[in-house]
Symmetry: C2
Subunit: 273 residues, 2 copies
């Protein structure tokens, strides 16, 4: 089985892929971007893909929501990965000499207090792993990278300080996508993409009331711009009920009768990594 | 009047500041990050600040929503800036020789089709202006920066190709913040931050129904993680009604009676730039 994930080596996506899929029979396929992962799955270059959808601190990863709009994939699973960010340095570096912190924007934002105390400048890279690898290549003792334990292992860096993020209990939610829609998914959650047929006052309230009138609990709602003009949105709605349930089918029928476009993005269970 | 904005020189934030505030009597104060802008205003180092809150393509700018949670500022205005992204190159460069595109992540994402057609690699910088300035310093004819017309002027770059973004009609919404809450703001919009007193099924539907029962139209809803655990949120709600209106006061009273924490973030009008 070929599994597409967001590279480079040493990212949290790789860690999630390694923990979620069985080591035997899984071939990991590294991609440059989240969109490339979804494209690889949609075009059947990979059997499955794993993409981050939400981080407990940063919120929704909009590259993923927007990619789900554009590519025809089916969400068949969800995995929650605890996130710990560490300060990585090259061998022999002293934390007191660190003048620059390298990482991706969201990781820099999550470790803002730490970076401030160190009075270090920040430098942006395309991923935590890319920052770690660049540090090794530069062999720079005056800089540190914010990245994962897996990145430290992958690139042979030292963990100068553990758990430097501002808030405890950080985790990221990943979705497992495939190009094959299972016949009858017997699952506990589902995700819908609702594109309203018209823009009218109280639109979201009306949509949400359909679910509450059928006793369907929603665990996640995300509005994304339609990219046509400011102020018009489509909605990602995650329900704590699989699409096999009669109530979910009723909700979908009612929403479509109202004139909204409803796409079932998937039906799945949650796995903690 | 001192106005804090997100630097460096040549960003869209600078353009918005230049267009929104009168040139006479305005002193622009450049900040390194969105959070620094809000902090400068909250700590009265600046009289006002201007921060991006939403882009028509990328959606909500979460650094701003999260900053509004943490800093005691008052939103007194809103400005909509049309966004045009161009490919900037150093003098004498040929677009056919461009092998790398430099910019900030969201701008690279917005020009994905263009970058693909050019078969160019992407390189991440902390802002569009930072990418443009780096290009000038490197005097690199094999790279191009995705940035604004203001950045081209500021750094003396050529516009090799105009309007390279995938979608037309892009614009960014900015908020104008101050540390002085006006006595009786007579305005047409307002923004609330609602932190639910409890997490229960149908919570958002119940909150939204309060507004629709009072005939208050909502123009923007954004859920942000509480940073305590995955799946718990607070809500930014923008109403098309100023806080001076009786109906808005009723909505706030009802929501507080339900046990939710309601913070009025501001009351304002919209200005098109």
């Amino acid at each position: 089985m070929k599994v597409a994930y967001l590279g480079p080596k040493g990212t949290f996506s790789e860690e999630a892929a390694l923990r979620f899929f069985p080591p035997n029979g899984t071939e990991l396929m590294m991609c440059d971007g989240i969109v490339d992962v979804l494209e690889a799955v949609a075009e059947q270059e990979a059997d499955k893909g794993i993409v981050p959808i939400e981080n407990a601190i940063e919120g929704t990863i909009t590259m993923t929501t927007d990619g789900l709009i554009n590519y025809d994939v089916w969400i068949e699973g969800e995995a929650i990965l605890p996130i710990a960010l560490h300060l990585l340095t090259v061998e022999g570096a002293d934390i007191d000499d660190i003048e620059e912190i390298w990482s991706i924007g969201p990781a820099l934002a999550q470790c803002r207090d730490f970076t401030r105390k160190l009075q270090a400048k920040t430098k942006h890279f395309s991923s935590t792993a890319n920052a770690a690898e660049s540090l090794v290549k530069a062999n720079n003792k005056g800089a540190g990278a914010i990245a994962s334990e897996l990145a430290a292992k992958t690139f042979g860096l030292e963990i100068a300080k553990r758990n430097i993020q501002d808030f405890e209990g950080n985790s990221t939610r990943f979705l497992i996508v495939t190009n094959k829609k299972p016949e009858v998914p017997e699952t506990s959650k589902s995700m819908l993409l609702i594109t309203p047929g018209e823009d009218r006052p109280g639109l979201l309230a009306i949509i949400l009331n359909v679910f509450s009138s059928l006793d369907i609990n929603l665990s996640w709602i995300e509005s994304r711009p339609t990219k046509k003009k400011l102020g018009t949105y489509r909605f990602f709605i995650e329900a704590q009920m699989g699409v096999q349930e009669v109530s979910m089918q009723k909700a979908i029928t009612i929403l479509r009768t109202y004139g909204h476009d409803v796409r079932v993005l998937g039906s799945f269970d949650t796995k903690k990594l």
